[in-house]
């Protein structure tokens, strides 16, 4: 598919967009918390991808290469625009899911936790947030994250641990306040 894109074959670029746009868009949305911001970031990433496709080394894993490109852009943009000062979109708007198999009380509690966690993601530093997103939301293995982030395995684990701990403390604090 990449080769066909480079050769300019009809439909190859559309196939590439169809395969990766959802992944990139969701990663952007989870990272910045704004729907509009995520759309802009996704466009930037695909622009960059189109420009740097010729530099792709075919021996490397394409998904990891693309996610590295995306991650670097997200963090650069985060540093440039300081998203942490902006609020994240309301959680209910797009991300709320209803667990039909569980009781309404349990669902309500889960929704409440999800809201707090969603809003608390902005309290994490960009590097830690990215590690938590890749591990706990996107479900990547530590090895995959190390490949994407170009970091040693130990650093990745430490970032994920610190992120979870910070989120747990925020959740503990907010729940404690309510009680």
């Amino acid at each position: 598919m990449i080769q066909e894109c480079l050769e300019g074959k009809k439909g190859a670029w559309e196939m590439l967009v169809n395969s990766y746009s959802k992944k990139i868009f969701n990663m952007a949305y989870q990272f910045c918390g704004s729907y509009q911001g995520a759309e802009d970031l996704t466009q930037d990433i695909f622009m960059k991808l189109y420009n740097s496709l010729s530099k792709y080394d075919f021996e490397k894993n394409f998904t990891a290469w693309l996610l590295t490109l995306a991650k670097n852009h997200f963090i650069d943009e985060y540093r440039r625009t300081k998203w942490e000062k902006k609020n994240r979109d309301d959680f209910d708007d797009v991300l709320l899911t209803f667990e039909t198999s569980e009781s309404p009380e349990t669902n309500l509690l889960k929704e409440e936790n999800k809201k707090i966690i969603w809003e608390s993601l902005n309290h994490l530093s960009s590097e830690i947030r990215m590690a938590v997103i890749l591990r706990d939301i996107q479900g990547k293995s530590y090895e995959e994250i190390a490949e994407i982030e170009h970091l040693p395995l130990g650093t990745v684990k430490s970032r994920v641990n610190r992120g979870r701990l910070q989120l747990a403390k925020i959740l503990q604090e907010k729940k404690g306040e309510k009680k």
Binding site: W13, K169, Q172
Partner: protein, 165 residues
């Protein structure tokens, strides 16, 4: 181990990535520490909640923009090609020379002397033109004086009389 040390390895414990000895120590601590055991339960909730975040579909509008990237780039490239046409090279060269001369004149510290020199040259040129004009005037006057003599000598010349023969 104190609470701070336990906190550091709690996430690894959650993923069962600690040694059996550490596991035993952590569990011993958790049985007696309400704060750490509460933190652990919150960490479990966080993992579950994060894993449960719904993936959303990108909008059709966004997809249309992504599909259009190659076309957009092609248009941009066309514009660049147009600017890089070899036929425009003399224009760029002339523009460069003009800019160099202009910047030399505009940013020169002794610009007023340059102005004076230019004025002087212009005046000299103007006076030379005036002189030439005056000379040309006297030449036409002289030509008028000798007109009749010239015409007579031309008529009498053999060159014109050949046909009459």
């Amino acid at each position: 181990m104190n609470c701070a040390q336990i906190e550091e390895i709690l996430a690894s414990y959650l993923e069962d990535e600690v040694s059996p000895e550490a596991k035993e120590t952590i569990e011993g601590h958790l049985n007696s520490c309400v704060s750490c055991s509460s933190l652990l339960s919150f960490m479990k909730e966080i993992r579950e909640s994060l894993a449960d975040f719904t993936e959303i579909e990108p909008s059709q509008n966004l997809l249309a923009k992504l599909y259009a990237i190659p076309e957009k780039k092609k248009k941009f490239r066309f514009n660049l090609d147009f600017l890089l046409k070899p036929s425009l090279q003399p224009v760029y060269a002339a523009a460069t020379i003009f800019l160099v001369v202009f910047s030399f004149y505009f940013f020169h510290p002794d610009r007023k002397y340059i102005n004076k020199y230019i004025n002087r040259q212009l005046h000299q040129g103007y006076s030379q033109v005036e002189k030439l004009y005056a000379k040309a005037g006297s030449f036409t006057d002289n030509l008028g004086k000798y007109k009749d003599t010239i015409l007579t000598s031309v008529k009498n010349s053999k060159l014109l009389n050949r046909n009459e023969d």
